[in-house]
Symmetry: D2
Subunit: 279 residues, 4 copies
Amino acid sequence: MLGQNNYGKSGIRLVKLVRHPDRHEIRDWTVAVRFEGDFEAAHAAGDNAEVLPTDTMKNTVYALAADHPLDSIESFALHLSQHFLTENANVARVRIDVSERPWERLEVAGRPQRHAFSGAGEERATTRVERDRSGARIHSGLADLTILKSADSGFAGFRRDRYTTLRETGDRIFATALKAVWQYIPSDLTFALLRRSIRQTLLETFAEHESASVQHTLHAMGEAVLEQHPEVGQIRLSLPNKHHLPVDLSPFGLENKNEIFVATEEPYGLIEATLTRSP
Amino acid sequence: MLGQNNYGKSGIRLVKLVRHPDRHEIRDWTVAVRFEGDFEAAHAAGDNAEVLPTDTMKNTVYALAADHPLDSIESFALHLSQHFLTENANVARVRIDVSERPWERLEVAGRPQRHAFSGAGEERATTRVERDRSGARIHSGLADLTILKSADSGFAGFRRDRYTTLRETGDRIFATALKAVWQYIPSDLTFALLRRSIRQTLLETFAEHESASVQHTLHAMGEAVLEQHPEVGQIRLSLPNKHHLPVDLSPFGLENKNEIFVATEEPYGLIEATLTRSP
Amino acid sequence: MLGQNNYGKSGIRLVKLVRHPDRHEIRDWTVAVRFEGDFEAAHAAGDNAEVLPTDTMKNTVYALAADHPLDSIESFALHLSQHFLTENANVARVRIDVSERPWERLEVAGRPQRHAFSGAGEERATTRVERDRSGARIHSGLADLTILKSADSGFAGFRRDRYTTLRETGDRIFATALKAVWQYIPSDLTFALLRRSIRQTLLETFAEHESASVQHTLHAMGEAVLEQHPEVGQIRLSLPNKHHLPVDLSPFGLENKNEIFVATEEPYGLIEATLTRSP
Amino acid sequence: MLGQNNYGKSGIRLVKLVRHPDRHEIRDWTVAVRFEGDFEAAHAAGDNAEVLPTDTMKNTVYALAADHPLDSIESFALHLSQHFLTENANVARVRIDVSERPWERLEVAGRPQRHAFSGAGEERATTRVERDRSGARIHSGLADLTILKSADSGFAGFRRDRYTTLRETGDRIFATALKAVWQYIPSDLTFALLRRSIRQTLLETFAEHESASVQHTLHAMGEAVLEQHPEVGQIRLSLPNKHHLPVDLSPFGLENKNEIFVATEEPYGLIEATLTRSP
């Protein structure tokens, strides 16, 4: 029996050059389109009559991008999802993911250059719009935002069992590659502006928090977003704990005054939680 | 308000050398441990009294592996999850993920060598055991199994709209990196043997199917597993369509008799479905 | 002053389907083309009159592949390099790199299937042909051949200084991702056959060697290739030491009988050497 | 016969927290150490008496980092290489590679925070110091500096043959991930300051150049560095051409006014050249 099923196109690389008279802007996006609906005949009988090719999804992304300002990833995802749902009667639900790669303007002699850019890091702005016949839900976020604090972070008073060897610490490096996904309650927002503000709330809370654990700081970050941004109904944060371990220098007759660390990739802690606005 | 939350350790690299008198065996596993439960105090107040460190989870994996035969990733995941749930009263649900990297024995002068191995590819055997106070659920699978068929695959008769430019074809390369996850109904099984059999069913069906689309072949693969393996209650298959595009040689006065292709990474189709045993 | 310079196209993904009456074969290659020569005008003055576009290099790879049997990566690289040097009078030296991704035939009911394949691992067969007006040099090899031996490997009697904490061991896991590059003296060889034989020599020597260090085994592997394969004039081997560290289980009251290891990625030893046939 | 050989430790992850009274600084470096010298006995006979373990190299990096200001990757690489050469009489040549991951200070309420940082992108600052008994040579550089210009770039007037299908263009996107390596003539320099200046020269020249080809701009960039920085004796630039292809929208009745592009990863052009100061 066929259960939940979906199909679509991923990894659609879309770059739009917005040509203002005095300067260019770059949009560098990766788009994924996903359909759910009644595709029983395609699966069970190999009947493709209701299957819009994934190649057509890709073409549609480029065609619609030509006539859209691409002012935000959210507005384009809303537009795309509307198009696909309207044009495909057999589709029950469309999901659009857009991830944005940031570029920043180069400066020449201290002044912004009109058409030259450098990549602005691994961080990605993301959105997922899911639309069915009842409306659209928007989950925006960011991914791979690498952050580190070198003070105001400890981990102590934890539960111990016979396999516990970890020492308590009142002063450790706290480093993570933040992933955040928040749900917007209304869908008519100035998305790009709002995103900058939410991102700043996350960063400032991370920087200033007196952290008793990753969980503790995660909770403070989520709470701050909900308090300062009424447009957000819910937020989920994922914080991998990218461990920085103090190096034991005592065999060499040296003391490590919490200055020399080895950064490790594996294993890593992973702490995740959702915070929801109370009703 | 704190909603769903979880924490744990990922990327725990465990290698066990099983020393038989006449030969060695290698287990090369990556383990992740995840707890869910009542961790409100840790999040809201920074109180770690109920937080078992993720470092302890890692230690526990190594300690328990020393006394366990590691006969299958499933049996060890069941054992680990039982341990953690028993020892941690405040934990409501434990999830263990294990992924196995395969090694195969080297041959010397045509005969199997007793202690030398080569890596057996990108494919990984996987399992996820989720255990709560009511029992355990086992979802096993495989990931990154790259397969390709160069005949018996077409795509035609599909829906067209104004953005459709794809040509129909009765003869295309069908290549994918299969991901499969199936649910075992009972939990007392000879997992390693059963896995080999399910894997072979997937491969043989893929090879022999007269494919009208990725959906069509996915469905046949899932159906075959459910038919031939009563232990499996449900299976989900993910098939990225790794497109191989015929190269247009006509500008050079050559005909491409469906022989010369460019393999592409992006964009890619993604087709996923769950098949469930009918009640 | 313009010094050494080169340009070309990399990452040319070429898949050829060889259609025999009773079965298909797959060639899955990645090709790079590189020119050196007199390109002073292009660099200094932006004069492209002597610059064959890298796009044309790519087209040429596909066009020539259509009419070539692709019986070995070496024979095609020789052919391509000849073409480019003949057609481009201003080019002094052409370098062609080809890397092959292996596929193996699937079996159905214990018998080889005619047109279905699975990916045969991360290992790549490689060749580099460098051709100038005086002739061609062939350097073939393999990359990412992951191998491990769990006996007959130690490391002791090494030099110590005040920063040395490593313990001597007579029994350690020796794991590496072998890269080998060997130079063929003649250029008219049955390359595919010879490659299999050289590869087997490398593997058997690795498996059977009583290893006192990575250097020691590297040397034995290279020596065996030179002794058994008179066609090879020189071989360079690179062996990253992928450390497997015994886990200290004593805090848990357990003894680690050299059975439980953590596999690490960083840092890693890197041992490299060239062996040359004595004159 | 043993030819060129080397061994060492790579991937040594070193993080130093510099604790000023009013703020912290982060050094996030990856170090590799490599020895060349007389290691014939180790290779041929398995005699390790002259082999300093690579584990000791790693320990030495951490120990020496504890007592060094780490004011620049160059100064530390010079110091490390001196140490190893002095302490190991049988070593003829030491090579130290250091790559720096940049972090930037977070701002809170518009003011720099004292101990919180975010990752500042994929770009890496690099240095390689090679030292033998006659002295040290310093090659510094940068890697993975992604840059793009959307005007003042064309490619026309190129050589054509029967496989050429590329169209001439006077207006294309020019995107690359710059790698640069330059040789310093003196070794007593304010490295960090000089690096910033060389980097700015590269970026400004890229941004402002009227580019007739990648070669043309590469040459201008190298020339500018040599002209403006007498400390640099030679520079090598590698510019992968990360193609952005205009999407053909004509099947959809739309015109692409050079606004909509697909960014591609493969194949890619690769243009490299060395510029040397004339004697």
